[in-house]
């Protein structure tokens, strides 16, 4: 039984706690970029938290999850320890990737998160492979890949969708449609929405409110079951908004006036808080306390030893 199914009903408080954790984690990263403790830029998923939280509530530990560079939320929803995440993003010798991956390319396979990817669409071929292995091993699990709406225009994505369909792979593609392919409106770049392309590959294509974790969880649970039982891929397009820039330094001058304000009115964290009522504030405070404690723990992690910078590239090294 997954966490959200306790007592047969969806555990709103658990979902909300996860979403707050992601929101506060991302806000903390923005502050760390501004204070220059975090080098470089980060791609935050503020506004899109309901998708990983809802999806992971419906997944099993044996499922493989692959994300994008906007993938901290998926890591947290897969229960990667917050202190390890902070340490990795801060370039420290984290238990995840020893600082080699960083914010946009971290991997946490022990938690069922094969990792992020910083090449748009590149996660999909690997997810097809993870699905193929599960099929041949008779694992009864699925591979789940999150991509953005912009990735739907990469050749490798379409090659993989077709391959997954003809090989009958248990692959669930979740397209997080936040309206922008990086900094250009998706509508200007995409001839046909993702969920409408799915049937062209003999795949089920669903649309879900990506700002509602319960709707996401229900859709993922149903589609995942079908993907596994029928051994064929499917696609869910989750409609959402990115409430911050494409990356931490993005001033978003390209947005039309009023667009962000309208998107904020559909903020998934606030929406769920309203549903939960007065208990929400306490949950959020507890999440924030967890975040601060994790950051403190991460700051105690040493930086990696530069002497090992080229070790671990090959299985066998002289």
């Amino acid at each position: 039984m997954t966490e959200s199914e306790q007592g047969g009903s969806v555990n709103l408080a658990a979902l909300y706690r996860q979403m707050c954790m992601i929101r506060r984690f991302e806000e903390q990263l923005m502050a760390l970029v501004q204070s220059r403790e975090l080098a470089g830029s980060v791609h935050l998923c503020i506004g899109q938290e309901a998708i990983p939280v809802g999806a992971c509530a419906a997944l099993e530990p044996g499922d493989a999850v692959i994300g994008t560079y906007r993938g901290h939320g998926w890591a947290i929803a897969r229960r990667v320890p917050l202190a390890e995440l902070f340490a990795e993003v801060l370039g420290r010798a984290s238990a995840l990737n020893s600082g080699r991956g960083g914010s946009p390319y971290l991997m946490a396979p022990r938690y069922g998160y094969l990792g992020e990817n910083s090449i748009v669409g590149a996660g999909l071929p690997m997810a097809a492979g993870a699905a193929l292995a599960r099929k041949l091993q008779g694992a009864g699990t699925a591979a789940v890949v999150s991509i953005g709406d912009g990735a739907m225009n990469q050749g490798a994505v379409h090659e993989s969708l077709n391959l997954a369909a003809v090989l009958g792979l248990p692959l669930l593609v979740i397209v997080e449609n936040n309206g922008y392919a990086e900094m250009t409106p998706a509508a200007a770049l995409t001839a046909v929405p993702a969920h409408q392309r799915a049937p062209a590959y003999r795949m089920r294509g669903e649309v879900v409110d990506g700002n509602d974790p319960i709707a996401v969880a229900e859709a993922v649970r149903a589609v995942r079951a079908e993907v596994i039982s029928e051994q064929r891929p499917a696609l869910i397009e989750a409609m959402t908004h990115r409430l911050v820039g494409h990356y931490s330094g993005d001033a978003q001058a390209y947005r039309p006036p009023g667009e962000l304000a309208a998107a904020r009115r559909a903020d998934p964290v606030a929406r769920l808080a309203a549903r939960i009522g007065e208990a929400a504030a306490g949950i959020d405070e507890a999440a924030q306390a967890d975040i601060l404690a994790a950051l403190a723990a991460a700051r105690a992690v040493p930086f990696p030893d530069p002497a090992h910078v080229t070790s671990g590239i090959y299985a066998e090294e002289p």
């Binding site: 370039g91 020893s98 080699r100 914010s103 390319y105 990696p304 530069p306 002497a307 910078v309």
Partner: protein
């Protein structure tokens, strides 16, 4: 002729504007280059000025390069922006199997008059898929021209030369150098593709470099001068066509050669430079040539690690100092 002080990225912007004004057949293609003004500002203001000739593309690098090629052989003059050099890997087939072949096989009846601009290199925190220096991949491919500007003046001159050229040209700009200012002669005559630049004269050694490593080499040269070592610095600018003449002239004078690049060492373009100088003037060398490059490794995100991997100013200086102090002319035997 008056020179204007511009940042590197602004020099790129001015060269693109010049091209759109000068050639009615110029089109600019790329991701986020229109209304967002380009991820790094290279296309700032161009969409509002030139409208439909500045085209936002989907995130589809393979289609972007292939479309540019098809448009080029049909009479347009496309300039494609690939956001990070790492993303060129997504379009390898179009670049290597399509662009590089078409003039040769068609006997010159199809002219791939296109420019591919990208930027590369590591900056603190940039991940392994956003930090590679990949010029050697493409310098290996006959049919492509490859250049790397190390300052604003070269960024402007080389991009104008590329766009004016009838050959397919790949320019690897440096993200790290984008904010650095330099003097640019906006009205200078358009250069042709090719041509190295003597960045500094010197008597004791010849240091060949390009792209992001050049400013670090020039900084090391200053420090070495304080220790009485005089290093000549050649900014190669173009790897294809390769202009070795100033390198050979300098080596003849100094008898010592170092090559410095940000890309990793093995099969880096430094190997080609060393091989060519050795083939031509090996007997003039007083000491074995030196390659200073990133260690062979993936680029880690943590700045603590990437600093250890990359050839920073301190390592460049100490290796050049060791070269200066190295064995005297022809004193090293094969067994040494």
């Amino acid at each position: 002729m008056t020179a204007t002080e511009l940042t590197y990225i602004r020099a790129v912007n001015e060269a693109l504007r010049w091209s759109l004004e000068t050639f009615a057949d110029t089109i600019v293609l790329g991701e986020d280059i229109g209304l967002p003004n380009g991820p790094f500002g290279a296309t700032k203001g161009l969409y509002s000025q030139f409208g439909g000739r500045v085209i936002d593309t989907p995130i589809s690098e393979s289609a972007m390069i292939g479309t540019a090629l098809g448009a080029a052989v049909s009479g347009l003059r496309p300039v494609v922006e690939i956001m990070y050099a790492d993303f060129l890997m997504v379009a390898m087939d179009q670049i290597v199997n399509q662009v590089a072949n078409i003039r040769y096989v068609s006997g010159g009846t199809l002219v791939p008059r296109l420019t591919i601009r990208t930027q590369q290199g590591a900056t603190p925190g940039s991940c392994a898929q956003h930090s590679q220096s990949l010029e050697a991949f493409f310098a290996h491919v006959p049919g492509l021209r490859v250049g790397l500007a190390a300052d604003a003046a070269s960024a402007y001159a080389m991009l104008r030369a590329a766009i004016a050229s009838d050959d397919p040209v790949m320019l690897f700009e440096s993200r790290r150098l984008y904010p650095v200012k330099g003097l640019v002669e906006l009205d200078a005559p358009v250069e042709s593709v090719g041509g190295a630049r003597v960045a500094a004269d010197g008597d004791d050694m010849t240091v060949v470099s390009w792209g992001s490593a050049v400013p670090d080499v020039l900084a090391a040269r200053k420090e070495l001068a304080a220790d009485g070592v005089s290093a000549a610095v050649i900014d190669l600018r173009w790897l294809s066509p390769l202009d070795l003449r100033p390198v050979l002239e300098s080596v003849e004078h100094t008898g010592r050669l170092a090559v410095v690049h940000e890309a990793n060492r093995t099969a880096g373009f430094g190997a080609e430079v060393v091989a060519r100088v050795t083939e031509t003037a090996g007997c003039k060398l007083a000491a074995p040539p030196v390659r200073i490059a990133a260690a062979d490794g993936r680029v880690p995100a943590s700045p603590v690690l990437s600093e250890a991997l990359l050839p920073g100013p301190a390592r460049i200086r100490s290796e050049l100092a060791a070269l200066a102090a190295g064995p005297a002319r022809n004193s090293r035997t094969l067994s040494a």
